[in-house]
Subunit: 238 residues, 2 copies
């Protein structure tokens, strides 16, 4: 079967990693196209104006902007279908390519709990996981300046709330969001929590244990897909 | 048929109006429970400390916080299912109660374009429609102060971008997001754009025409459900 499915990703991005891992976990025939957010530069070595430019990667230029005029990754393309939003991409790939029906369940009552997390995370896990990493790790390294610790602490405080709400409300007593089965909601959550963790944020035990459970379901690809981001964070913080 | 479906709403809220209108449009047997965000106070008449308190409505207190510990409306409840996110609620109600399959199409390729809008709107239509209304209309009226016009103008600028991107990318040459059929994506978009419009924002002709098309699909309920918010905005701005 010739793959018609393409995903445009950079493994620095949390939802991009979730898309890569989903395709691998369900053995969806696909092409992974790498769009370098940092233009392949080592962010920790960039200087001055070069550092500013380095933030403007391949996602800001043609030919990628012909695919996504909003200049963001990840993007999912499958024949005529182009999806510029990662949650829509996760839903689409799981619906079309996951024969097991596990990752995005068909039963509306179960699926709606996955949807609830995917909707909630935009202003919660994502906003503050990204905000923390960007302000604590990435921008100080690119701009060679100290992090604005007031901003970092605000994201830390919000991340603590996010962790509590995720553990209490979304997981409750079960290993994953919908119960015993891992879904695209769990996968995206784990990929998001990995970002502040790599940036030095002290994740609580329930969330660390949750990540371990997701990792076990995904297999060795999990760490492989996270390696680039973890190494970059380490260099930036050095 | 006894309705098991309950929606907890205040028609001041954009996604709450979308949920009410969806239930009515598809004749879903349901109970609409009103949770007053402004505690039934006339925001334009509240003064000083009372005005501050007025912002803390029924959504912040028991018994509602037993249903939603996140203290937000709307909420969808159907038997054992509770959904605290409005997009998940719209998907659930359309999937379960819309026999026509029009509002949230089953075909994955079509549905994914609805999902793409529902995911995109969080940080776009919603963030800036709400930001504009809150900063231009609601908070100045409740706090008896002048709006911070720098903040209002920032939301205005972003709303102009949102309008362009919605018209060009999400609609393109077709009347609705997926083509000729109205969906929950269009309904939510129209309800969001109504908010800055009521607050004095000058919506562009393509978006005004889009709203008219959604209104025609929904019928007289559309204006009825929007009346409270429009009247409140008028009073606040008087």
């Amino acid at each position: 079967m010739t793959a018609t499915l393409k995903i445009f990703v950079d493994h620095l991005s949390q939802p991009a990693r979730a898309l890569s891992l989903l395709c691998r976990a369900i053995n969806a025939p696909h092409h992974e196209k790498h769009i370098q957010l940092l233009k392949g530069k080592d962010a920790s070595n960039a200087r001055g104006k070069e550092a500013e430019v380095a933030v403007g990667g391949e996602h800001l230029r043609k030919p990628f902007t012909d695919i996504n005029p909003f200049k963001k990754i990840p993007v999912v393309q499958d024949g005529d279908i182009v999806l510029l939003e990662s949650c829509a991409g996760l839903r689409f790939i799981a619906s079309k390519y996951d024969a097991s029906g596990v990752w995005y369940p068909g039963k509306v009552e179960v699926r709606s709990k996955v949807d609830e997390y995917l909707d909630w995370q935009h202003l919660n896990t994502r906003a503050h996981g990204m905000g923390y990493f960007r302000n604590k790790v990435l921008m100080p390294s690119l701009k060679k300046c100290e992090p604005d610790m007031a901003v970092v602490r605000e994201h830390e405080k919000e991340l603590q709330r996010v962790e509590r709400q995720f553990a209490r409300y979304f997981l409750g007593p079960t290993p994953f969001i919908t119960g015993d089965q891992v879904t695209i909601g769990d996968l995206l959550a784990a990929c998001e929590f990995e970002q502040p963790l790599a940036g030095g944020y002290n994740l609580s035990p329930p969330i660390r244990e949750f990540i371990t459970r997701v990792k076990e379901k995904v297999g060795p690809d999990y760490d492989e897909v996270h390696t680039y981001m973890r190494q970059l964070a380490k260099k930036c913080l050095a």
